[in-house]
């Protein structure tokens, strides 16, 4: 009992100053929190607004009917279709697209998860912004002032390594060391692992806007600029994450098709 009491006192002596410091830190952090933008809700790429039960995006169909090609440029624009690929890059893009028929994917990956048929949410704190989607894909963007990690401390991953900072109400993100996006999702761009992605995200009215610049000295002849926009669609009340576990895309020699589902006896 005596030793227990002594131990408790010793612990209290250690913890007390830290608690006071913690309180000060917490107050400062609360102030920082209050200054940050707040982007609540479930954001979907603008072209997917009103996606039907059949998975179709009516805005795209309507744009096609009225011949609005500018709208189509916004359709999955992060796939790099509008980028200036160098000769090697063009060959690589053609190869990847040709092999995409019937190919299954593992998910959207980065950058496509920012431009995909899934809602995303933003959790904004002073030190960290987390972006996640309904496939359990998550990005961690450190906004605590740290620099990009040393190159030797990074390696290519599906979502890369991101640091960010706020310029007013604009979140600026730099992402490096993204493994070749098209390896993960067949519709993604085949950038090299040396590509650098810069995003500038901001709220304009009810619309979230993202300006993207991708620099890839290996496969692009000049930086690729594009814009993505998101809106809040109706019907979402929470993020429900479900694995990408039933990709039945297949290829019948002429068209993609649905992989057969065996009839159980």
């Amino acid at each position: 009992m005596r030793w227990t009491a002594i131990a408790a006192l010793a612990l209290a002596a250690i913890v007390a100053p830290a608690s006071a410091q913690d309180s000060m830190d917490q107050a400062a952090r609360t102030e920082k929190f209050a200054e940050l933008p707040y982007w609540p809700g479930y954001w979907v790429s603008e072209y997917t607004i009103g996606t039907t039960i059949g998975g179709a995006a009516p805005a795209l169909a309507e744009a096609r009917e009225r011949g609005d090609t500018s709208f189509f440029r916004n359709f999955m624009s992060l796939n790099g279709g509008g980028a200036s690929w160098n000769e090697e890059g063009r060959a690589r893009l053609a190869e990847v697209r040709a092999a995409a028929r019937g190919r299954k994917a593992d998910g959207w990956g980065f950058p496509m998860m920012m431009n995909a048929a899934t809602p995303i949410v933003f959790a904004i704190t002073p030190e960290l912004v987390i972006i996640t989607n309904s496939y359990g894909e998550t990005r961690h963007i450190y906004t605590d002032g740290r620099p990009m990690p040393d190159e030797l401390d990074m390696w290519p991953t599906v979502y890369g390594t991101s640091v960010g900072h706020w310029e007013g109400d604009t979140l600026v993100i730099e992402t490096r060391m993204v493994s070749t996006p098209s390896d993960y999702f067949h519709g993604a761009p085949p950038y090299s692992e040396d590509a650098v992605y810069v995003e500038r995200l901001r709220l304009e009215g009810d619309r979230l806007i993202g300006d993207y610049t991708v620099t890839d000295p290996t496969y692009l002849s000049e930086p690729f600029h594009t814009q993505v926009s998101w809106l809040r669609d109706e019907g979402f009340d929470r993020m429900i994450q479900i694995d990408w576990d039933n990709d039945r895309t297949s290829f019948d020699g002429e068209f993609n098709t649905i992989e057969a589902e065996a009839v159980e006896d």
Partner: protein, 124 residues
């Protein structure tokens, strides 16, 4: 009369607007045509990147064929009021769909009604 039977096979519907899906090209489906299938739900696959209605259709000669009817991703279905138990195994349903170009028994859902023709969900 067959137990369920195919109601109407294929109708030309050139007036329909083309649809575009995001995960894969929509080219696999013939959006100029529709099939109207009546059958029994074997399984409702509430799965990513697409949900599927696996339904068994009994043809006029008694042959049973299982169709794979593709839908959107669960989050979008949820947003449109669907739930994993919206369709239960054994339920009789009618599905209007754009069929696969390949001729295989599959398509992308346009709308779904129950055995009595009451709407369960629609693309329109």
């Amino acid at each position: 009369m067959n137990k369920f039977g195919i109601l109407a096979a294929v109708a030309g519907l050139g007036m329909l607007a083309p649809t575009v899906q995001a995960h894969h090209s929509n080219a696999m489906f013939d959006t100029s045509r529709e099939v109207n299938m009546r059958g029994v739900v074997r399984e409702f696959q509430w799965s990513n990147p697409h949900a599927y209605i696996q339904m068994v259709v009994t043809e006029e000669d008694g042959t049973e064929t299982e169709w794979s009817m593709e839908m959107g991703a669960p989050m979008y279905l949820y947003a449109r009021g669907w739930r994993p138990r919206t369709l239960r195994p054994g339920s009789v349903i009618n599905v209007r769909a754009h069929p696969l170009r390949s001729g295989e028994p599959g398509g992308v859902v346009v709308d779904v009604t129950d055995a009595d023709g009451n709407e369960i969900g629609t693309n329109q």
